[in-house]
């Protein structure tokens, strides 16, 4: 290749790479400060602890900016951060009571401004998005069907931990997953999550019947 041509190719590649980097780093629509200002003015009546819910953490920021498809380095940072923060039940048991899990999966209570002061425990609201027990026809489809989840995986021990971590913080395995971080956000306790794990993984659970 003639030297000049090579020079042009290299320069063009460099310019394109820089342009792509700038494009990716550029906010999609609005500057962060104008969005924050609009949010602040639009919830002017909310109490400070409620306004705090509108402030994004790093994971929310990255997932919003890249519309849940973050570049590899940022995706790896999310999974690393999420993995490091997982808390397990103090007794070490990742499989709780599937019957309690069954009721938590139906329960959509908690966290709305009409839910304070709390009148009952927070629920997992799993059926909003997942199929679980075949007898429950009112299930959503935003998440995958979990019917026969444990049975299909031969009730393997390793899957128990996987399911616990997936509920505690799905970003530990799938960066920018749609599912809420029910454990990391302290919406559910580690013990409640263990009950949900049993509902999905126990051979006695209707999910696997």
């Amino acid at each position: 290749m003639p030297k000049l041509l090579k020079h042009i190719v290299v320069t063009t590649a460099a310019v394109l790479a820089i342009a792509a980097g700038v494009y990716l780093a550029w906010p999609r629509a609005q500057s962060a400060s104008s969005v924050d200002a609009a949010i602040k003015s639009s919830w002017s009546d909310a109490a400070p602890e409620w306004q705090a819910r509108l402030v994004q953490d790093e994971t929310q920021k990255v997932c919003s900016q890249f519309r849940n498809a973050p570049p590899r380095n940022l995706a790896e940072a999310i999974t690393a951060r999420s993995k490091a923060a997982i808390v397990y039940p103090s007794d070490g048991k990742l499989m709780g009571d599937w019957k309690k899990g069954q009721s938590l999966a139906q329960n959509g209570y908690g966290g709305r401004f009409t839910d304070y002061p709390p009148r009952r425990e927070n629920g997992g609201n799993c059926y909003a998005c997942h199929q679980l027990d075949a007898a429950e026809l009112s299930f959503g489809t935003l998440g995958p069907s979990l019917l026969n989840y444990g049975k299909d995986r031969k009730y393997k021990e390793a899957e128990v931990k996987t399911v616990y971590e997936r509920i505690y913080d799905p970003h530990a395995a799938i960066p920018c997953a749609n599912m809420p971080r029910l454990g990391a956000s302290k919406f559910l306790t580690p013990e409640q999550i263990a009950d949900l794990v049993a509902f999905v993984m126990s051979p006695e659970s209707p999910v696997n019947k």
Partner: protein
Amino acid sequence: MRFGLSLAAAAMAVLLGACIAPAFAIDDTERELEKYRQMLKADPWSNPALLDADRGEALWQEKRGPKNASLEACDLGKGPGKVDGAFAELPRYFKDANRVMDLESRLVWCMETLQGLTRAEILRRPYSKANQQGTDLEALATYVATKSRGVKFAPPLAHAKEKAARALGETLFFRRQGPMDFACATCHADTGKRIRLQALPYLSKPEEARTVIGEWPAYRISQGTVMTMQHRIADCFWQMRLPLVDYGSDVTVALTSYLVNQAKGGEITAPAIKR
């Protein structure tokens, strides 16, 4: 304020589900739900929201407030008093207010400036509760929207502030926040999805936005009352575990601007009957 709309909707879906033999496959469940929706739409004159529209028209003409004025001089964007087709071109930039306004924030503006009512008075009861008559704002919004039935959405996008509002709405649509990490896009950026049995429109896809955005304000059978776009958005934020958003705020106007621009060319069918 009771914000149990979605809960009630879910409960209704569960009830409906219980009426259907468990042996039915999910496709049969979907078919039964569609049959139910069609029954609701069979006789358009049975729509109770038309009563709200009538009451809204009377309110529009009634002299009210300290200035004892009607809303007939209200400029909804096509000139003072011009109601026909105005809803199809909202949200838009209004020079007098120096901001982009949707129908409902514009109604508040006109009630403040023409009638001399205070914002606090106007917003004392913005949304009706279940099985109540629509509020004044709901009646007025339903009336104005009804005067654009059959018209296609054509929101103006020439002014810099209109462009900024649409762009802010798009950013907000994909913004994840709150204890559940939800964005609008969590539920409304894919096709054929459901929460429990409730079908979710893919609002960032123009084909789907065009069929649903023009349905609001709509009469909701599960609530027995009319619901406007402000209320619909506030209720989504409630479900996202966020605080109550201010009525006619920059955020709700921006989201409405984004949604209406996605729905550009879609026909206005308000007030629709929703489940």
